[in-house]
Structure formats: C-alpha cells, structure tokens
Amino acid sequence: MTDCKLLIAGQGGQGVVFLSRLLSQTALMAGDDFITYESHGMAMRGGSVTSQVKIGNYRSPLIGEKSADLLLVLAADEFQRNRHFVRPGGISLVNSPHSLADLPSENFCGATAVALEHKLAKAVNLVFCGWAAQHPAFPYNFAQIREAIKLMAVSPDIETANLRALEIGRQLSIR
C-alpha cells in the first residue's frame, strides 16, 4: 500500500490538474485509495494553481504545513510559496533551469526549454513528470505512469505525443 502526500504547484494553463489526474489514475490502477483536490475558479485564468494528492487511507485532500512528502513545482515562482508544506526530510522537485534557495541542483530540471526544443510546448508537465518519476520519492514508477497515460488518452495522437514527452523527460535524468 503506497502512502504519499504530494503537492503539485504551478500556474493556470500549465497542466497541474492533468498531472494530478494522471497520478489519480495511476493510483487507481495500482489499487491504492486516494483523494486529491484541485483549485478551480479564478485560478483557471492564469493565476497560481495547486493540487493536493493524498495516496493512502485519507479522508480529506488537504495537506497541512510541514507535512507533504513530495512537492512538484511546474513554475519556479511557485516554489517559495509552497515549500513550507514540505515535511522535514521531504523532497522538492522543481521545473527550473537553475537551482533555487538552498536545494541541491539535482532537484531542478529545465523541462520547459527541453519541451520547447522538441515542439512540445503543451506537454511541459509530462516532460517534467518523466524526469520526476525517476526520483525514489515519486510514488509510482515510470512503467505505471506510462500505462495510466495510455488509458487516459482520448486519441492515438495524444497518446503518442504524451508518451514521447514522458520519455524525453526520462532521458533528462540519465545525465
């Protein structure tokens, strides 16, 4: 039984909600219980968006301060605002070309530039996810994420593009 509290932070239009749906689908396929919460409404118009994902025996999707096991950040600006949710010993993984604050550089990955290079501007989130899924703190492995993407894809084209983005992300960690 997986037990993981993770927070995904980004800005409207970056696919925060998609990532949290992807993790939900992966959890479902793994037979784990989960509950997630996405901020909607005004946040849809480009503002800050966070999604809280709790995998395991939980009733409420809300994550308190200093209690997230993993923080995934799609927009570097959102890192400072959300890092206080990470528990002591928890992990932050950030989409940023350079390291921020006092964290080691292996916690950062410039997924946006790589995605643009491959003309995958709309799939920055999946490039980032492919990279992050290599980290031991990530609740599921690469193969499990792949299967969930296949199941969620609404068309073969989207499936191919999404799997490609994920794979490009995975390559990033083999430096």
Binding site: I35, G47, S48, E65
Partner: protein, 613 residues
C-alpha cells in the same frame, strides 16, 4: 467497480442511481460540473432524463420543484450565492413540499475562492426549515445525493445537499452502485389549497413542517452519538463535526501521536439540520468538553444551544471567517485539551500572495476595457460578476456587488448625482451576456422606466466563460447539445425600450472607442437616455473561436524602453519582462501568446509590432 470521479461527478452519479430524471442548474463555481456530468452519465447508461441550464437559480429551482409536484424525482443545482437568488422559491417550497422527490444542491465556497461571500447554505436550510445533508468525501457525496432524494420522497419535502468546494473539486476512487430506472409518468393532482395555499393554509403547512422536522430530529438514522471508533477508555473530549470539516479533523487526529489522540473521540453528523436532539444531550453528558468543527458558520453549535462545555466558532476556538486548514484544527485541539499551542512555523511564507489571475491572452474583454478607459476617462464604471470582474486589474471597474447590479448601480449613480445637481461624469454599466440574461434584464427595464442615463457596455462573448463556457440563450444550443432557438440580445434590449444600440467587434479598437464616445454623448442629449454598446466577440476558450483567430507574429523591437506601460495598462499574460535584462524590457511569451495583435497599439514607443502572420 471503482472509478475516478470528481466530487461533482459523484453527486451526479448519486442522483442518477436513485432515479432523478429532471435537473436544472445555473453555473457557478464550485457547482458547475454537476449538470454536465449528470447529462453525460445518463446518456452513457441510456437513461432518459431532461437537463437544462436555466437562466438563473430561481428559475432552476421553480422548474425542478414543478417536476417534483408531478411525482417525479428532480434536482436544482447552484452555488451558495445562487441560493440567495432562489431564496424566494426555496422558503415557500419548504412549506408546500413535493409529491415526488426534490434535492436542492447548493455548493459552498469557504475561503471564499470564487464568490462574493462565504455564507453557509446549511444556515439557509435552518432558516427555511429544510433538512440538509453535509457529505464529507466524493464517495459519500454519491451516497448522500441518493439518500437526500430518497428522504425527500419519504417525507414529501425538499432536501438540501450541501457540498463545499474541497469536495466538489476533490477526486477520489469511487465504488459505484447500480442505477435505478425511474419509469414513473408525471401525474399532477390538482390541490389548489396546497399548491396555491392562502395565508390561512400556510399556517397549517408551517405547523405540519414543524412536526416533520421534529420527527427527523428524533429519527434514530441520524443519531450521531455512536462514534465510528470508540476508544476503550473514556476520553475526556468529544468532537462533533460534519462534511469536509469532519474529514479534515479525522485526518488530523490520525496524524497525532497515540497518547494524544486517545483523548479525543470524533462524532460525525450526516444531517446538520435538524440536529438529532438526543445525540447532542448524550454527548454533553459523556464528555468533559465538546468541540464543534463545521464549515463555515456555527449551525450545529447553534442547535446545541449555549453551553459552557462547548467550544467552536462562537467562543473563538475556531476563527469565524476563512476556510479550515489542518493548522486551525491542530490549534483547536490544543485549546480544547488545554495543551500548549503548536508553533505555526511558516506563517509569513504562507501569506506570500500567489500570481493573481488575469484575463486570458487575446481575451476580447481586455480590449473592451482598454477602449472604455480611453473613450470615457474619469468615468464611474459599475461592474458585475464574471471573468470581466478581472477588469479591476486594469483599473477599469469601480464596483462589483452581485449578479446584475451593474445596471441598477449605474442607473442609481445617475439618479443620485442628477437629483443633487452634481456634475455627472461618464457613467457605464459593464456586464457580460450571461449575467445580463440572469438578472440584468429586470434592472434594465427599471432603469429605462426611471429615466436613468448611462452607457450599458455589454461584453458579449456568447458564453458563460467564468464557469467553463456553458451556453447562453443566444447560443442556439442547450445543455444536452440539442439545438434551440438563438435569442437575440438586441431584440431583448429593444424590448426594454432602448433605442440606441451599437454592435462592435472589440478587436476594432478605434470603432469601439468612437461608439462608446457617441453613446455617452447620446445619454447626455436633452432627450437622451440609456445607450447600449455591445462588444461582440467569442471567448477564446471556445475551440472554434480559437481556430478562427488569425495568428499574427508579434515582436517587440529594441525601441522598448522597459517603461512597463503595456504590462500595467494592458496586462496580457503573454507580455513578460525579458529575463536578466538590465533595462527590464518586455518580450512576448511564445507559449501563451495567441497572436491577436491587440497589444500593438498600446505601446507609446510603438515597439510592439506585427512582423508576420
């Protein structure tokens, strides 16, 4: 079978499982996904239903009620402030009751995140004497939506289901139940003394309602004095909670060290009104102190009555504004058990504001606001509810009260100033098409009748954009995708006695500025009145509109001085400062720019240029 579902989808599923066939709604965050999910699931399972986006919440409730007068099972769906709009019908329906089943769903927004108030719909239920369920998780929401429908059919009264945003937009693995197909035919039995009751009969209906509520308050199904897990040793402190507040408290309790957690027992209230009478008394005897955790107003606390032993929102153990957080619960538990307060380590960091929302790149509203400020400078701009409330970022809105108020307010600004002989600055009411249909029309009739003078600036993007692009009466499309008549905004306005109407594409800025200027001139002519300018261009969130837009290549030349005027006055999210540029010049973000070209005329240096298409 298990499925991933959004809380709102789970609510739809629960209604469908228990034979709901008629559903009416007006979109509003966080409730908007319920109606589309209901229609989709019904069509997946080939259940014959009727679902409709009503023009406002009052009409939605009146329609759903009427279906339930004929013996069918129905639902009316809205957000909490929508229940204010529907209140007239809601309070009356509580007396009249139904012969089928009627669930009213009013989704609350503690915080608030997307609303004018953080009012508690359960308080409305208490006020109206309508029983209310408060579900805690998406799984439970599916269950309670069905229970609410069955209870309504059983007692012959409407029942309220009150989810909050954290449930509506939570996603969870849900176990599904089978769907009951309701093949009942509508049957309306004439009972004028009930359905058209005079005040004398109303008194009797009220007395009957009181009896039914008393029966529910004694109904063993809603006894909450049995905790899910009773500790073996007696615990000094009891916690009574309902809905998402219960879920949050349960999670916080299970994160505490054993010896600390042992001191508390958590009780879950499914039906916060009418509150089970005996359960409350039992718990008061059983525990030294009781904490009540609920969102967002003290409804349960109020019904328990003033008691030394009880703490919660009334005595400040829990703050009486804002959404609940794990930290608030932890602090409340410490106060309850008189332990040292937990240290709140990062309050400063937590308070750092996030990126504020703004209108989308290429949004026609941005161009409309820019033109409004140019055409009618130093005016009073009365605003309204919708995406365009974000005009506040552009300094182009002076008020935002409630749905449709822009028109009443612009009219009243005129009356107030004119009657006192004060100078009258340019007056404009800024309202979107969907809000105009919702409650702008009566306000316009009123303003015309009263002889008010202002520019009605109607931002017509042919959709209800804020809540996810639901169709409006002008779209010629209904909630289930079927074709309907496309109503004409112009004809409705003409019908309100307005003669001066101009329709302009907001992307044609000069024309729009000229139209707004002419409109205000007309208002101030000796026999002028209200002039309407309709800025008509589809919302870019509609895929067809995005496709139809010609993508221009926009570049910012070296002439940019970094003055930041474009960022402030136009605030397109695709205009960004260059990274590591000492002069802080601006560039275009290629990922988000839609190439509308609307920013070109904004730059005083003419640095923003079209360089291709």
């Amino acid at each position: 079978m298990q499925q991933v579902m959004l809380g709102n989808e789970a609510i739809a599923r629960g209604l469908l499982e228990k034979g709901c066939t008629f559903i009416y709604a007006y979109p509003g965050t966080p409730s908007s996904e319920i109606l589309p999910a209901f229609i989709e699931q019904a069509s997946e399972h080939a259940v014959a239903i009727h679902g409709h986006w009503s023009v406002n919440e009052k009409i939605a409730l009146e329609s759903a009620f009427t279906a339930a007068m004929t013996g069918l099972r129905s639902a009316a769906v809205m957000k909490q402030v929508g229940l204010n709009v529907a209140a007239d019908a809601f309070l009356s329906i509580a007396y009249l009751g139904v012969t089928g089943g009627l669930v009213v769903i009013s989704a609350d927004d503690p915080g608030p995140n997307s609303s004018q108030t953080e009012q508690d719909s359960r308080m409305f239920a208490l006020f109206a004497k309508v029983a209310v369920f408060d579900p805690a998780t998406p799984q439970e929401a599916a269950l309670f939506a069905g229970r609410a429908l069955e209870l309504s059919a059983e007692i012959g009264l409407p029942v309220l289901l009150r989810p909050t945003a954290t449930l509506c937009h939570a996603r969870q693995n849900i176990s599904l139940k089978s769907i009951i197909r309701d093949s009942r035919n509508p049957e309306f039995v004439r009972q004028p003394q009930r359905w058209a009751a005079t005040p004398k009969h109303r008194l009797q209906l009220h007395q009957k309602l009181n009896q039914k509520m008393l029966a529910l308050a004694c109904d063993p199904r809603f006894d909450f004095a049995d905790a899910e897990s009773r500790p073996t040793a007696p615990a000094p402190y009891g916690i009574i909670a309902s809905g998402c507040a219960w879920a949050l408290t349960a999670d916080v309790l299970s994160s505490l060290p054993q010896d600390e957690a042992r001191q508390f027992v958590l009780y879950k209230v499914d039906l916060p009104y009418p509150l089970h009478k005996k359960a409350g008394r039992t718990l008061l005897l059983r525990h030294a102190r009781l904490l009540v955790v609920e969102e967002s107003q003290p409804v349960i606390e109020y019904q328990l009555g003033p008691q030394e032993k009880i703490c919660g929102r009334n005595d400040g153990t829990i703050p009486n504004a804002g959404a609940l957080t794990p930290e608030i619960i932890r602090t409340a538990l410490a106060l309850l058990s008189k332990r040292p307060l937990p240290i709140n380590p990062a309050a400063d960091e937590a308070a750092a504001p996030g990126k504020r929302p703004s209108l989308c790149p290429g949004c026609p509203h941005r161009s409309s606001f820019y033109a409004l400020k140019k055409a009618l400078p130093h005016g009073i701009y009365a605003g309204d509810i919708g995406c365009y409330t974000l005009g506040i970022n552009l300094n182009a809105l002076d008020s935002c009260l409630c749905m449709g108020a822009s028109i009443s307010q612009a009219g009243s600004f005129y009356q107030t100033l004119a009657h006192c002989g004060a100078d009258i600055p340019p007056l404009a009411a800024v309202i979107g098409d969907s809000t105009f249909y919702h409650s702008g029309i009566p306000a316009l009739v009123n303003a015309r009748w009263e002889g008010s003078r202002f520019v009605l600036f109607l931002l017509d993007n042919s959709t209800t954009a804020m809540t996810g692009n639901q169709p409006t009466p002008a779209a010629g499309l209904r909630a289930d995708g079927s074709r309907g008549p496309a109503l004409s905004l112009e004809k409705i306005i003409q019908g309100c006695g307005i003669e001066k109407i101009t329709v302009v594409d907001p992307y044609r800025r000069d024309e729009l500025i000229a139209a707004l200027k002419t409109a205000w001139q007309y208002c101030m002519e000796p026999d002028g009145g209200i002039a309407v300018v309709i800025a008509r261009r589809g919302c870019l969130m509609i895929p067809a509109e995005r496709k139809a837009l010609q993508h221009l290549q926009i570049t910012i030349s070296e002439a940019c001085t970094g003055c930041g005027y474009c960022l402030k006055a136009f605030e397109c999210p695709a205009l960004i400062r260059r990274i590591n540029d000492p002069e802080k010049r601006v560039t275009i973000d290629p990922v988000t720019c839609v190439g509308c070209g609307q920013c070109v005329a904004v730059c005083p240096q003419e640095a923003i240029q079209i360089t291709g298409s």
